[in-house]
């Protein structure tokens, strides 16, 4: 059984501080849905509102089309996996997993049987009698999932459960989580500040900032077609070039930017907001920027002269840092095909990028420098 989760005009306020600002979204039954945002953006508060630990100040939370107002966390068809897992250290592994069955008065034999089934699901068969402290980080993770699944929740809520793991294990657990979700077929709502996690696992991602949902879409749309300056700057690497709109026509904007006149796609949702003369941010991804060998434009809508100042070699990619016009730093990434890039550091090159791969957005808040642990 999986249930949809509907947030209808949800506000959460703590005194004068607004943690969640008018959130409206419907998460479909069986969906893997992520809330992605920097720490303090209100995503954890939102998760606590869904699980019932926090009552919304205003608005309605519906789970399976049922209004959850006044229904406590122990009565909701949800299960929450905590950031620090919150396994019970004084109980054995199987007792942890079967705790919710104990609550429901299932007898010991029945609890043990169900715990063993779940241990099999998480590939920990035969480890039920161990103490929690005897497990590795990844195993604890899986026990926490099994414990939550034992309630047979319709919605599983996950609060950055992978953040305590090291990088390799984290990547492995992404695949694992996704596989478990597909096997059990229930709704997963996942909270993370790590865009890699959100993009790889989710059916849809909601990017959140300052309590506001910035954009809700599938991973590719979030990455390729950001609709706000925050989304464009928070998700993935992006070059931000400030400017003023010169003219708008047929879904494209011509922007007089600090590196020259650029032609950029204008998302449908922002067409009303960006008229000629408005301040705009133009975003172009490093991997969308090509280094041109000929002097001509080669069919690129936008060309810029820049000075190659640094290179970061990452194996599969070469990341170039260039000084563009107007003191702008431009980052360009090229795939390492083993041939080099034909230009040395210190030389001047022409950069080209297509209008479809360039996006103009209204000037707005952008993401702060990302934590170093984000992938």
């Amino acid at each position: 059984m999986s249930a949809n989760v509907e947030l209808d005009g949800v506000w959460v306020q703590f005194g004068s501080f607004t943690a969640v600002h008018d959130v409206n979204v419907t998460i479909e039954g069986g969906e893997f849905f992520s809330f992605l945002g920097p720490s303090g953006c209100g995503k954890t508060t939102l998760l606590r509102t869904i699980s019932g630990f926090q009552e919304p100040t205003q608005g309605v939370v519906r789970i399976g089309d049922q209004d959850m107002a006044g229904i406590g966390p122990n009565k909701r068809p949800t299960a929450l996996i905590f950031q620090n897992l919150a396994l019970f250290p004084l109980m054995s592994v199987w007792e942890n997993i079967a705790f919710s069955l104990e609550v429901r008065g299932v007898d010991k034999a029945g609890r043990r049987k169900r715990a063993d089934e779940l241990l099999e699901l998480i590939a920990l068969t035969g480890q039920g009698d161990k103490k929690v402290s005897e497990l590795s980080g990844g195993q604890k993770q899986r026990v926490a999932i099994a414990r939550a699944l034992a309630v047979e929740p319709e919605v599983l809520l996950l609060d950055e459960p992978l953040s305590a793991l090291d990088l390799k294990l984290r990547q492995h657990m992404r695949t694992e989580l996704r596989a478990i979700q597909q096997r059990v077929g229930i709704t997963f709502i996942y909270i993370t500040h790590d865009q890699g996690e959100a993009l790889t696992m989710s059916d849809r991602v909601a990017v959140m900032n300052d309590g506001v949902l910035e954009q809700v879409a599938d991973s590719a749309t979030i990455y390729d077609q950001p609709e706000t300056a925050f989304v464009a700057s928070f998700v993935g690497e992006n070059n931000l070039i400030p400017g003023k709109v010169h003219e708008v026509a047929e879904g494209f904007a011509v922007v007089d930017s600090t590196i020259g006149r650029l032609r950029a796609r204008l998302p449908r949702s922002q067409r009303a907001a960006l008229a000629a003369g408005e301040d705009a941010y133009v975003f172009v991804r490093p991997e969308a920027i090509h280094i041109l060998n000929g002097a001509g434009g080669d069919g690129f809508d936008n060309t810029v002269r820049a000075h190659m100042s640094q290179e970061e070699f990452e194996g599969n990619m070469r990341h170039l840092i260039l000084d563009g016009p107007g003191g702008n730093e431009i980052r360009a990434s090229v795939i390492n095909a083993g041939r080099g890039i034909g230009h040395g550091l210190g030389s001047d090159v022409t950069l080209g990028f297509r209008a479809e791969m360039t996006v103009a957005l209204p000037k707005g808040p952008v993401a702060a420098e990302r934590d170093s642990d984000a992938t």
Binding site: L80, F88, L90, R147
Partner: protein, 309 residues
């Protein structure tokens, strides 16, 4: 690690002066203040009560007659056993158990509230309200309870004037005043160990249990109490030992018919002038209390090391 390298490391870590001070102070404290006096008491308890002139003389020999007295009484005793003293002894132990259980029931919710629920100012205010009354000395507090519970005390007067009571209740005679006084005397020793234990419990564990469907009582029974067990044990041990060994509160608040075992000990030492018998009685109380505490720790599966935490 053998003791010599252990000692060397201890000296290396703390420096010679501090190490010497710590070692001498602790050793002196243990020996001079705790072990030696108790050994003297133990020695006393195995001797006859002789006039000073005969001490060290041929009559000054070891005996267990002082211990036997508690069980069998004097040789002129018509009963087989010394029921008067024995019943006081067992009643004291039982009453101390009752005070301890009463204190756990009273203090656990307060400690839980302070450690997990109260945030900031109100919690601190509550702790102050708990501590400040203990600035008043024990005797004064005991007499204050007498004023509260006495036949013409506050409770009876108010109850009668409101028409709730037809005649005054004899709180002192029914030992209610005594239990209330003892219970109140040691609440801090119960609250703080439990508070410390519960405070170290990750609040997410409580929320996790709740999220998994547990009602409040099961959260306490399965998550909070197991975690707080060492603290509860530590509080219980102190409250039990101190109530069993209390003297002032039973003296002041005890009913005319009820005697505390410590009062008998006091009588042997003081009015009875029989120190050896008093020592023997005190030793029996000490050993019985320790044995009882050890037994309870075994029953509730608490290690001695856990209490020290």
């Amino acid at each position: 690690m053998n003791p010599v390298t252990g000692l060397r490391r201890f000296v290396d870590r703390n420096g010679l002066a501090i190490s010497a001070y710590l070692l001498v102070a602790v050793t002196l404290w243990m020996l001079a203040m705790i072990i030696l006096p108790q050994l003297f008491m133990l020695d006393f308890s195995f001797r006859y009560n002789l006039p000073p002139a005969k001490i060290g003389g041929p009559e000054d020999v070891w005996t267990i007659s002082n211990y036997a007295f508690l069980v069998f009484g004097s040789s002129g005793n018509p009963d087989a056993y010394n029921w008067i003293d024995l019943s006081v002894f067992f009643r004291t132990i039982l009453a101390a158990v009752f005070v301890t259980v009463f204190d756990v029931a009273l203090c656990y919710p307060i400690a839980f509230y302070l450690a997990q629920v109260a945030k900031g100012g109100f919690g601190r205010l509550m702790v102050l309200c708990l501590i400040i009354p203990f600035w008043v000395n024990e005797i004064l507090r005991a007499f204050a309870f007498r004023i509260l519970f006495g036949a013409t005390g506050v409770i009876n007067t108010v109850g009668m004037s409101l028409g709730l009571l037809d005649q005054p209740i004899d709180f002192v005679g029914a030992d209610i005043a005594l239990y209330a006084g003892l219970g109140y005397a040691y609440i801090l020793l119960m609250i703080f160990p439990i508070y410390n234990a519960i405070e170290s419990l990750d609040h997410n564990q409580i929320e996790a249990a709740r999220d998994l469907g547990a009602p409040w009582w099961r959260i306490h029974y399965r998550v909070v109490i197991p975690h707080a067990k060492p603290g509860i044990a530590s509080g219980c041990t102190m409250v039990f030992m101190l109530s069993a060994g209390a003297l002032a509160a039973p003296q002041i608040l005890g009913g005319p018919s009820s005697l505390w075992f410590t009062q008998i000990i006091y009588q042997w030492f003081n009015t009875g002038g029989n120190w050896p018998r008093g020592s023997a009685y005190a030793m029996i109380l000490l050993i019985a209390c320790i044995a009882f505490v050890m037994l309870m720790m075994r029953v509730f599966k608490v290690g001695l090391g856990e209490i020290g935490r």
